[in-house]
């Protein structure tokens, strides 16, 4: 009784900005509040290219999902899916195959409630409220959803979210737990902020986010490589967002992309 009862969740407090709604705002969405926009403006001052980075990150998600669809993946686990804004995984995937199944995972109340609103009538997509850094709980919920068959290859997506995982959460173990839960030929799509590109702006962003509910932990290319144990990296490896298999000639400046992207295949 001395501990707070673990089954009582945090209250919903719209006065506190959330990273999910900040991202929505940067993408031009309207699913955000004054506090989110205020934080976003600070973010933009530290990293003026933030809108482009958000767009590029979202575009990478699309390309990664389509790439996996092309490689036969028909079920996705989207970790830290956030606010369902433009170009959600199930919408992208179903253009290639209407049978594709998706389980979204997020911990934030409003993001989850919002996702439920959108997915209410959808038998092949669901959202579960879990912390992605607690793989056992996430995997159990995913199994319980009945949407993911872990005997078949799974597309695990952690796009623009892993920079919220602190070192003390043991990131390698977290990725390894998902890797171990899926069969060979499964894929991992990964993108996160790095200090390798625009270190000054990155430091500014880290400073802005430090006091928020979602402090950020950028990682070097080497650190990200360390997370891909047990995966073989798909060409072109770990690269700035726009350089990962662009649709045609890239026109964006990779040095200002802020985020590394990569896709690995479980061996």
């Amino acid at each position: 009784m001395s501990e707070r009862m673990s089954w009582v969740p945090e209250g919903v407090d719209t006065g506190k900005p959330s990273a999910a709604r900040l991202y929505d705002y940067l993408l031009g969405g309207g699913h955000n509040f004054a506090a989110d926009r205020e934080l976003a403006e600070k973010f933009l001052r530290a990293q003026p290219n933030a809108r482009t980075i958000a767009r590029l990150n979202r575009a990478f998600l699309r390309r990664a999902v389509l790439f996996m669809m092309d490689r036969g993946i028909r079920q996705f686990l989207d970790l830290g899916s956030g606010i369902p804004t433009v170009g959600n995984v199930h919408e992208i995937a179903r253009k290639a195959d209407p049978e594709a199944r998706v389980v979204y995972v997020d911990f934030e109340e409003v993001a989850v409630a919002h996702s439920q609103l959108i997915l209410e009538e959808d038998p092949r997509a669901a959202v579960v409220q879990e912390d992605m850094t607690a793989p056992d709980a996430v995997l159990k919920a995913a199994r319980d959803s009945g949407l993911i068959d872990f005997s078949q290859p799974v597309g695990v997506l952690t796009v623009g979210v892993f920079h919220f995982v602190p070192p003390e959460a043991d990131p390698e173990a977290v990725v390894a737990a998902y890797r171990d839960a899926v069969p060979a030929a499964s894929y991992l799509a990964f993108s996160q902020f790095t200090q390798d590109l625009q270190p000054a702006e990155m430091a500014g962003v880290v400073e802005v986010m430090k006091k928020s509910q979602n402090p950020m932990f950028p990682r070097t290319k080497g650190e990200i490589e360390g997370l891909f144990g047990g995966f073989e990296l798909i060409e072109p490896g770990i690269v700035p967002l726009p350089l990962w298999r662009p649709e045609d000639t890239n026109t964006d400046d990779p040095d200002k992309a802020g985020i590394y992207a990569a896709v690995g295949r479980k061996v």
Partner: protein, 657 residues
Amino acid sequence: MELPELAARWMNALTSTAYIPLSRAEIRQALLDSLVELPESPESVANRLVSLHATGPDSLRVTIEVLSPTFELPLLARLSSAYAQAMRMDAFDQQEQIKVAIVRAKQRVERTLKVSQARFQEVFESSALGIAITDFDDRCVEANDTLAEIVGLESGEDLGARPLIDFFHPEDAAALGVSYRRVREGRVDRFRDQRKLIRADGEPVWVHLAVSLLRDADGAPTHFVTMVEDISELHLLQRNLDHQLLHDSLTGLSNRQHFVTQLERQLDGRPITLYHLGLDAFSVVNNGLGHETGDKLLKIVANRLRAVADEKHAVLARIGGDEFALLTTSDNVTTTVEEIQEALTEPTFVDDHGIALSASIGVVDRPPAFATAAELMRCANAALRQAKARGKRQWALHDPHDDARRRGKYALAASMPGAWEHGEIKILYAPVHGLETNEVLGAVARLHWDDLSHNDCMELADSTGLSLPIGRWLLREACAQAAAWVAEFGDRAPTLHVGLGALQSRDEDLVADVKRALDETGLPREKLRIALDISSVLAGDDNAVVLHDSGVVTALDGFRGGHDELAALTEVPVRAVITRAPAPNPDSPLRQAMHDLIATVHSLGVRFGVDEVHTATDADHWRAAGADGVIGLLPALTAAEVTDLLARAASPPPAAS
């Protein structure tokens, strides 16, 4: 500019301002369609742009820049206006959506809270533990019915707003206050304790307490949670177990261990008296009427003794099968002994058997303060043995001096069987001198163990039950030795005298033992003299008569000249009596009396021998008084030494100087 080229330029401009989740080909096609449609319906184009999510902050600006060379300003103005309107509507939609999401999220949180609260209530209400949530003013904010039950109230609400401390035992309040404070100050996470609560009816109840903190969402402490487990039943069980460990299950009295503990507690210089009771002839009841009857009798005895003890505020215990102990203070021993006997004498009927009861009692009265409980118990026991030796319904006061002697003897007796087994007890042969001729008449076989005399050895052997086997061994060994001397020296071989202990003298197998010894060793029976303890004859035993009838010459040892002894001599055919007495020297007023006694014995046809005569002077006095023979003038010799003497001397050893 051709429309497809324009569409491509538009796409490149737009996609750098907003994320459009479509392939470039799809986007280009959508924009080409829009260009075709634009002159007719700029509003449709605006809606399409917004639905494509071409809604970045710069999306409209780049659109106007790309399209303005090709399209008229009024058309672009209409497009801009419709775009703004579509954006507004889209924003409203999104805001509406997010509001619904917020409401949903809140509802879910509330639902979860409700569920968790319901779970908490369920745990709270159905818990077998009493639970109280108190604020820092010690008021019960909430308490469950279990707690109410523990403290003897109707429901948890009855505890409402009452200070929890009201229910703590006053002696515990201060210490518990400190413990609560330590929890509140975060010095410990929680504390557990075993304490007494005071029920509403004033009765104490033993509880386990577990106390910890409740904190608010920011982690600041707000309340105490006190969990209370009623362990009174456990406590009673524990006490019951303790009771079983300290009490006799049959009578419910304290057991020996408990009694000794209580005795120790009272050894502080108080004038205590310790009574050790042994029921007389209880084994007769047990063996004759059965153990069940015996048990019933013991219960009756316990109850009667309890009445005596209660009246005296004495401690009573059953410390052995038929033994009880009573501890009193400032007591009159004779009165208490009388009261005990009176209580027991009252006729007792058990299973239709009328049983008369009495006890032998050993008493230790007002022992010195330095005595230990164990010593007192042993002394009381020794006194009880003394009392029992005197017969039934006797009591004896512990005599510390007597006890020391007894203890030395017991220690010796205890080591006797081992000594015998290891050959430490030897047979020596002491010459018997005829006073008339000053010749050696024979040899007395004697036990010898360290510096103990034969008589001491026999007495010890009697007290250990060893006297019979040792006596038989002595008889047989000595006969064998005497037979060997007869074989070697013929007539010159000494006549064997064997003195028997009191028990062996009365042993019903004695005659057979003697016969067997003679038969097996081949010793002629005229070469054997058996000295029986005179107590056997006085007790009416006929061993002396039967031995005489068998042709064995007997003597009676331990003669003291009593009337009963002289009377026995008239009835039992014995050759001699043997006495131990100071030599009747000429100055002694008893000289004449001894002279007369010896004359009387002689008149009965019985010879008079004296044991333990160690000097020639004494021997002379005895000779003068008329005695026939003495033992002890020369030290006893081993069989080999005797053999050696016999071999070397044609004549018997000279008299002592």
